[in-house]
């Protein structure tokens, strides 16, 4: 199966080579961090989680979003999604791989990570998160391998795969819920300690993830013979519309309770995000861009004529993805620490090394997606093998 | 042979990578060929018999670590009945204060780099 990914034209190999270079450079910078310590990042005693953990959180959402194509197809027989469920599952695999890598680069003593399994601690949500994500990865690998192999043979997938696929549906919801629990159970961090955090995570995952998937579908349709037809694209667009509406609604709910109640320990975090706190306005421009992008995306998605126009839909997907990436990949994690439990504001911004390592990890995910999409499409004959 | 060029290059790279430890050591030159740890204390017995310690001191130290840190038990009764404080720094290094001539001898020979010394302060070696 993978041998299909070893054949391609010069553009394909150029892209693979580029990814390898980015990964290698990221790895070299990681070696610097491994030798020096995490002090090479912008993290400090007050803001102890930053870019790495934020990307982890964002990518768990992307991984969970595969359920948005799996559920309609396998549970409700929505045949139109037949050609893209595997693409969603591969994206989920790549996302979980990136999640694991981001955790590895964020640990102070990464070689001791096996301690989490040697000394299991069921009291800790982090322990359950490793179980949930590990299980999700195994599920999706089993499903993907069997579905692709069946397509290659031209037979329907084996019967025993159906319960496993159905299991992956609640499992997908659970991975992002457990990740949300990591944050929402902490009495020390009022910004995160809200019951709506898990629903917010899911809503942003189910809009941002499918938006990325749709962009990948558009890309494949442009550069290969892959064409799923109009219906799955429109359906995905509708799913993104509803999910993004929920996401924006939830954010507005948060803003209302914080601002109307006026309780400083809740309000201060939102002030930091949108107007700045104690002179620190690091995230303010980013959050306003995210909000404007969210409004633009909803405006485009609500107008049927706009949503039906695939070029506009593609642009809306870009705005959705960027808006949610800023909200989750920057806003959510850092803000939990600003202000700190003593009311002090400490500035955090990723350093150059931190950013290069992050880009390197994203390149790993891109490589996984590239290799498995190439294999899948080659098997289907949609791309020259 | 089809693709002879690619195969031969691949084989050469593979053999070079796999045999790396051998030719790297040969090139380095200062690899110890034997270990001769020196005892500098006048104490006649360790916390356990020498043969046991040679093979199991790492397990003993791990056990001590868990007993002291996690269980709060700090006194070890040796087989001989003698009591010791379970401590690398205060007990072991009290007698074996010559780390470079004792601990490092076997560790360098075996190519082992225990991370104990990242935290546990090495005693200043007294010139004897």
């Amino acid at each position: 199966m993978i041998e299909k990914a070893l054949r391609g034209n010069s553009k394909y190999w150029g892209w693979i080579a580029f990814l390898f270079i980015v990964i290698f450079v990221g790895f070299l910078f990681y070696l610097r961090q491994f030798g020096y310590g995490l002090g090479i990042t912008g993290l400090n005693r007050d803001v102890t989680w930053g870019l790495y953990i934020a990307q982890f959180t964002f990518l768990v959402g992307v991984a969970a979003s595969a359920v948005m194509v799996v559920l309609p197809y396998y549970l409700h027989n929505f045949k139109a999604f037949g050609k893209i469920t595997i693409l969603g599952e591969i994206l989920a695999i790549a996302s979980v791989v990136m999640c694991g890598t981001f955790i590895f680069v964020d640990m102070g003593q990464p070689l001791r990570i096996p301690n989490v399994f040697i000394f299991p601690s069921p009291n800790s949500l982090m322990f359950w998160d490793t179980i949930a994500l590990g299980g999700y990865l195994v599920l999706n690998v089993i499903i993907s391998i069997n579905v692709i192999a069946s397509e290659k043979k031209g037979t329907p997938p084996p019967g025993w795969i159906k319960p496993i696929i159905l299991l992956s549906i609640p499992w997908a919801i659970s991975i992002h819920t457990v990740t949300a629990f990591l944050y929402s159970g902490l009495a020390a961090r009022p910004f995160w300690m809200t019951a709506i955090l898990a629903p917010r995570f899911l809503a942003s995952a189910f809009s941002g993830g499918p938006a990325l998937l749709l962009l990948l579908v558009f890309f494949l349709r442009k550069f290969t013979r892959f064409d799923p037809g109009r219906e799955p694209i429109q359906k995905l667009g509708l799913i993104i519309t509803y999910a993004m509406s929920l996401n924006v609604f939830f954010v507005l709910m948060e803003i209302f309770t914080a601002f109307y109640s006026g309780i400083p320990e809740h309000l201060d975090h939102f002030k930091f995000l949108y107007v700045g706190l104690h002179g620190n306005t690091t995230l303010v421009p980013w959050m306003w861009v995210s909000s404007i992008l969210a409004v633009i995306s909803l405006a485009l998605l609500y107008i049927p004529k706009a949503r039906n126009n695939e070029a506009v839909l593609g642009f809306a997907c870009v705005t959705v993805f960027l808006s949610i990436w800023i909200e989750k990949g920057l806003g959510m994690v850092i803000t939990g620490f600003v202000p700190n439990p003593l009311g002090e504001v400490t500035r955090y911004w990723p350093t150059f090394t931190e950013t290069i390592i992050t880009i390197g990890v994203y390149a790993v995910g891109a490589l996984v997606v590239t290799i498995f999409y190439k294999a899948t499409l080659s098997i289907r004959g949609e791309v020259s093998a | 042979m089809y693709d002879a060029g690619k195969i031969i290059i691949g084989l050469v790279v593979f053999i070079a990578l796999v045999s790396y430890p051998i030719w790297y050591d040969a090139a380095r030159g200062d690899i110890p060929t034997s270990a001769d740890p020196k005892i500098v204390t006048s104490e006649k017995e360790c916390v356990a018999p020498t043969e046991y310690m040679k093979a199991n001191h790492m397990d003993l130290l791990n056990q001590w670590r868990d007993d002291v840190v996690r269980k709060g038990v700090r006194v070890y009764t040796a087989e001989s009945g003698r009591k010791f404080e379970m401590s690398l720094t205060h007990t072991c290094m009290d007698c074996h204060s010559n780390k470079s001539e004792f601990c490092d001898e076997c560790h360098n020979y075996a190519g082992v780099d225990p991370y104990c010394w990242d935290c546990h302060i090495e005693p200043e070696e007294v010139q004897r």
Partner: protein, 264 residues
């Protein structure tokens, strides 16, 4: 020359005593005389301080009597090889002073008693009865002992910093880089830590095991720090708490911190 019997016996007695004593000193193994340390440690370890529930009381008024006094902080940080970094973002502190409005951030009161507003209470790990840091640790590298102390195992910590996110008091620090070059006057008795692990005050468990009080308590020469067993009704700390108004940090969170601040 005459000498009377009494004088002779006195002189002979003293002389033989001196002779015997001198023989003892010279006859003994030299190392035993020069190294009483190891002998004391073992006997110390065999009479540790024990309690059902350790707790600390800080008398803010007494503490503030001496301006800019940092004896407790210096003692703790010296004894435990706590590094001092030039870059504030790498800061590690086990015990420190914080302005009242930050230490008791949940008690906002612009018109609080003047000497309190200007005070800088001492902060450390609260060794909570219900510690959120312990709940979240994925390897149990931090756990709560039966006697109430929240311990750290620096061998097991993977440096995930979840405990730091979970602590509502900002008590924990992380080794963002190798601390050794930044330790002033390295103390041989206590290990340093390596980069990549979280550290905090452990109520000097290694000193309690030797029958000694925590270093900060001993270092304070105005008696502002009182350390003892809350379950012992006769202990100094219980008496102090019975007779004085005290507050704890963020009591509403349900963590049950065991550091009490006496407001007199």
């Amino acid at each position: 020359m005459t000498i009377d019997k009494r004088k002779f016996i006195k002189t002979a007695g003293l002389a033989s005593l001196a002779g015997l004593a001198g023989k003892n000193i010279l006859g003994q193994d030299v190392s035993e005389v020069i190294e009483p340390g190891s002998f004391d440690r073992l006997s110390g370890l065999q009479s540790p301080l024990k309690a059902e529930r350790w707790a600390m009381a800080v008398d803010i008024k007494k503490c503030q009597k001496q301006h800019d006094c940092t004896k407790c902080i210096d003692a703790c940080h010296h004894l435990h090889n706590v590094p001092e970094f030039d870059n504030p973002k790498d800061e590690i502190k086990w015990i420190w002073k914080e302005p009242f409005e930050h230490a008791f951030h949940e008690q906002e009161n612009k018109f609080q008693k003047t000497d309190l507003i200007h005070s800088t209470p001492l902060l450390f790990c609260n060794h909570c009865d219900n510690p959120p840091c312990v709940s979240v640790c994925p390897t149990r590298a931090t756990w709560k002992r039966e006697d109430g102390i929240v311990m750290m195992d620096w061998h097991r910590c993977i440096g995930c910093r979840y405990c730091m996110a979970g602590c509502p008091y900002g008590s924990r620090s992380f080794n963002w880089r190798d601390p050794r070059p930044f330790i002033k006057d390295q103390q041989q008795d206590f290990p340093t830590r390596m980069r990549g692990v979280v550290e905090k005050c452990t109520f000097c468990d290694e000193r309690l095991a030797m029958g000694l009080l925590p270093a900060c308590v001993e270092a304070c020469d105005v008696g502002a720090l009182v350390f003892g067993d809350l379950e012992d009704a006769e202990s100094d700390i219980r008496k102090l708490l019975n007779d004085n108004f005290s507050i704890r940090r963020k009591p509403g969170l349900g963590t049950q911190p065991e550091v009490y601040y006496i407001i007199s």
